[in-house]
């Protein structure tokens, strides 16, 4: 699946009868369980619920392990998303990526058209964000690392974190606090600036989950 087919909607001006048409964009917030994804989203945006009950289609073959549960044809995910409406008519959505492996199919759904992703890392357990980094590298989605500086967590220099995560020199690493609005704002700004800079590596692989 080509994850880069869509890149946010900027409708032509003058469309729509019952009100102006919003421009829409989305950013993914990813990272290990309990790293502060929901906190980050709630710090800067209005949180709304989203219910999905998706058929397990061929999209999830090789992702959802359905051996032995052939009768189950749908899987339910209750999730939240964040929404920030701007006076310009832009609506920015923040989607936290679900943690459990059985919800990998949702990642593709969320990733289509995303501007990029913030991978939240906790220095006490950096390995928790490996899966997210892998996913975004493989699907060619630009991402930055935001180190959520918890109280009492060991502090590391960004370059130590880069080594621990085996990241290329181009991936920005920012330190932040998911509870602080200004900090979250800076994290998101860093991501957008990074995407705009064109400094990132060209997309190597377009398939998110493939034969590879």
């Amino acid at each position: 699946m080509d994850l880069n087919r869509f890149n946010g909607a900027v409708p032509p001006p003058g469309t729509g009868v019952g009100g102006s048409v919003p421009s829409t964009a989305k950013i993914l917030i990813s990272g290990g369980f309990g790293v502060g994804k929901t906190t980050l989203v709630g710090t800067i945006s209005e949180i709304r619920p989203l219910r999905t009950e998706e058929p397990m289609s061929d999209r999830s073959v090789g992702v959802d392990d359905t051996r032995g549960v052939r009768a189950k044809t749908t899987t339910t995910v209750a999730m939240d998303f964040g929404r920030i409406s701007f006076p310009s008519g832009l609506v920015l959505y923040l989607f936290g990526t679900p943690g459990q492996e059985r919800f990998w199919f949702m990642w593709d759904e969320l990733a289509i058209g995303a501007i990029g992703a913030v991978v939240l890392a906790d220095t006490r357990r950096v390995a928790d964000c490996f899966a997210a980094i892998d996913y975004f590298e493989r699907s060619g989605i630009p991402f930055i690392i935001a180190v959520n500086c918890f109280d009492g967590a060991p502090r590391f220099e960004p370059e130590d974190i880069r080594i621990a995560l085996s990241l290329g020199p181009e991936v920005p690493i920012v330190l932040g606090d998911a509870r602080q609005r200004d900090s979250v704002k800076q994290v998101l700004v860093s991501l957008v600036r990074y995407v705009m800079s064109g400094n990132r590596r060209p997309n190597q692989v377009v398939r998110a989950h493939g034969a590879g």
Binding site: R5, F6, N7, G8, A9, V10, P11, T15, G16, V17, G18, G19, S20, V21, P22, S23, T24, A25, K26, T38, T39, G42, I44, I47, R48, P49, L50, R51, T52, E53, E54, P55, S57, T73, T74, T76, A78, D80, F81, R83, I84, F86, S88, L90, V91, L92, Y93, F95, E109, L110, I112, G113, I115, R181, K185, L188, V189, V192, V195, M196
Partner: protein, 127 residues
């Protein structure tokens, strides 16, 4: 998944469960007709008040039409009417094939639109 709603750990209480299985309102269909694919942040607009030609409108169709009088992103629509995303997509497919809604698809370029990025950056910096 119970109903506690503390900050930062928010779940919405659905303990009662739906009265009808979700895909019953789509008559068991799990994919939109005509192979349409609707992205989460595509914007839906109701285009017509006329009666559909081939479709028998259900109450869920009507709710979608009523919400989409104002251009509404699919993710907001889904959140608002509290049906699963997959169900909303099927119902949207019905309405789109009757020409009763228009879905403004997000852009298809491989490179993110500079204008959109600039809007996002300006917006974030103004927060």
């Amino acid at each position: 998944m119970t109903g506690h709603d503390s900050h930062g750990d928010r779940w919405f209480d659905r303990e009662a469960g739906p009265v009808v299985r979700p895909y019953a309102v789509t008559k068991g269909r799990t994919l939109p007709s005509g192979g349409a694919s609707f992205g989460l942040i595509d914007v839906v607009i109701a285009t017509s008040e006329r009666q559909p030609e081939f479709l028998r409108l259900g109450p869920e169709h009507r709710r979608i039409l009523s919400l989409c009088r104002r251009p509404t992103p699919i993710v907001d629509l889904t959140s608002e009417i509290d049906l699963p995303l997959g169900v909303v997509r099927v119902l949207l497919g019905d309405l789109a094939s009757e020409g009763m809604v228009r879905v403004l698809s997000t852009q298809k370029q491989p490179v993110t639109d500079e204008r959109l990025l600039r809007m996002v950056l300006d917006g974030l910096e103004s927060l």
